[in-house]
Structures are given as C-alpha cells and as structure tokens.
C-alpha cells in the first residue's frame, strides 16, 4: 500500500498527513525517551528489520494482485503502539530513500496509513477486543488477528480518501477496500503466526501480553 510520489497531487492532503505523522512521531520519540530501556533497543531494531524483510515478500493474493505484510499490529502488540509507530516510520524511510518504494513527498501519508492507522489504531482496537475476551493465549492471538485485518482494510479506506481528494475516480474506493479485505487475511495470518512463535518462546517480550501475565500470576498466587 505504499503510495508513490505521483499519486497525491492535492497539497492539503500532503500537509495534513505530514503534520499528523510528525505529531505522532514526536510523541513516539518522547515515549521512547521516557519508557524504553537501553537493553530493549536491539529488540526494537530486530522487529523493524523483520518487518522490512517481510514487506519485501509480495505474495500473490487473487485477481492478479499481490500483497505483503504491513506489520503495524504485529509491531504494536510486540512493542506497544508508540514504539511501533517509530518502527513503521524507519521502515518507510529506508524504503522511500533506498528503494523508491513509497514516495518521499508522501511519506507522511504512508505513515498515516501504516503507523497511525496500522500500528496505533490497530493497537487500541486490539486492546479493546482483548479486554472483552478471556485472558488466554488463543484469545490474545484472535484479538491480534482481527485487529490486523481491520487495520489493513481501514488503512485502504483512508488511502482511498487521499486518492479521491487527488481526483481519482470514485470506483477506486471499492476496489481498494475489496482487494485489501483479501490482503488483510494475509496480514492476520502472518501476524498470528509470528506472535504465537514469540509467545511460545519468550512471552515476556510481548508488550501486549501483559494481561496474560497478570492472569498467570493471579493463578500462581491462588
């Protein structure tokens, strides 16, 4: 879903998405400075590296369309929403500067899709769903999978709004959301696979698993 430079001709879209993304990044950096411990830094680095790698792998989906992981919900469940937003920003910056993947002039728009909607929005949806489910590993994975799917579909809807503001035909909205409803399944599957692997080996490294830990320590205490 990386928007190239030429797609967005509507200057207010660029200005608004750049401002929103800059604000989120500033808050993310503040959170990193206050909350992150130095020994967590390599874990953030390796999450970002994995998401960059996974985004290189375009898998065929349907109707001659391919898709790849975005990783917003994955990063947010592992690291929390604000550090995840930083991860998405760095991945997008490396892609835009080194790989001509996603335009540099629209990096704010792309971060609004993958960081603001994908990581931050997806994270709060994940928390909301997890809050009404039992405190089990399966429920946590289900909440992450559903949030991953919704975040991709929601991001495709917002991307369509940007395109419509730049005078693309209205039909683009239906195709975007329809295709991403399929691509979102890939997002959900990879997100659940990776999270379940990390939960199986190092559940202490999954920020979004705090309710699981609370449940298991309560069980031990009882």
């Amino acid at each position: 879903m990386h928007i190239p430079d030429g797609f967005i001709s509507h200057t207010p879209t660029i200005a608004a998405t750049s401002a929103a993304s800059a604000g989120a990044l500033a808050y993310s950096l503040r959170t990193a400075r206050k909350r992150l411990q130095d020994r967590q830094i390599p874990l953030v680095g390796v999450t970002a590296a994995f998401i960059f790698a996974a985004q290189m792998v375009d898998l065929p989906i349907a109707f001659g369309t391919s898709g790849h992981l975005i990783g917003g919900v994955l990063a947010a469940v592992l690291l929390g929403p604000w550090i995840a937003c930083l991860v998405m920003a760095v991945v997008l910056a490396v892609q835009a500067i080194g790989f001509a993947d996603g335009g540099i002039t629209v990096i704010g728009a792309n971060l609004s899709l993958m960081g603001l909607v994908g990581a931050i929005g997806g994270y709060f949806l994940f928390r909301g769903i997890a809050a009404v489910l039992p405190r089990t590993r399966g429920a946590l994975l289900a909440a992450a999978g559903v949030s991953a799917w919704v975040s991709v579909v929601a991001a495709s809807g917002l991307a369509s709004v940007y395109l419509l503001l730049s005078d693309f035909p209205t039909q683009v909205l239906g195709y975007m959301v329809g295709l991403h409803a399929l691509i979102g399944i890939l997002e959900a599957v990879i997100t659940v696979m990776v999270l379940s692997a990390v939960l199986a080996s190092r559940p202490d490294l999954v920020a979004g698993a705090d309710r699981l830990r609370a449940a298991s320590s309560a069980a031990v205490a009882a």
Binding site: A53, T65, A100
Partner: protein
C-alpha cells in the same frame, strides 16, 4: 527481563533469510493499491499507472540490486542500524542516566 541476545540474533537471522532469500519467489504482480488504480483509473493500462505514479523523487538503489539479495541485506542492516541509532541518541538526550525505579 531475561537476556535478549539469543532472541535478537535469531530474529536478525530470520529477517536476513526472508529479505535475502524470499524476494526471488515474490510475485511481480501489482499490489492492492496499484491494482485498484489500474482498474479504476487506468482501464488496465500499465503505462498509465506508471505515468500516474511518476518518477520517484529519490531514485534509491538500482532496481536490479534493490529487489535481490543485496537489497535485502542492505535494507535489513539499514533498518536495524537506523532505528537502533535513533533510539540510542534519544535515550542519551537525558544524559544516559536513569533514576532508579
């Protein structure tokens, strides 16, 4: 928190394997955004899609390298180093001191 060195090394290994090995198997078909624009705005004409996308403002690596193992290695290394460097710099801004608790 237990040590993280093993986890970080395994994670980096997986990232490198994925980035250097799998893109060769990746589909060259348009992604969801390109497909939607191709159908809705270009009537299936790929030249029209390229024209709408425009020349990237920053060209980056040669595409032959970018989509191969060199690009995968360079991208994974750059991503890891840039975010680690950024976070170290941000953490050092308060003097690298952490008040206990």
């Amino acid at each position: 928190m237990k040590g993280v060195r093993g986890t970080v090394l395994i994670g980096l290994g997986v990232a490198l394997l994925v980035a250097m090995g799998l893109p060769y198997l990746a589909s060259g078909e348009p992604d969801g955004l390109e497909s939607a624009v191709l159908i809705a705005a270009c009537d299936g004409d790929e030249a029209c899609l390229d024209e709408l996308a425009g020349e990237p403002a920053v060209a980056g690596l040669d595409p032959d390298y970018a989509s191969g193992w060199v690009g995968g290695l360079a991208g994974v290394a750059a991503t890891f180093l840039v975010i680690s460097g950024l976070l170290l710099a941000v953490r050092r801004r308060d003097g690298g001191q952490r008040s206990p608790g």
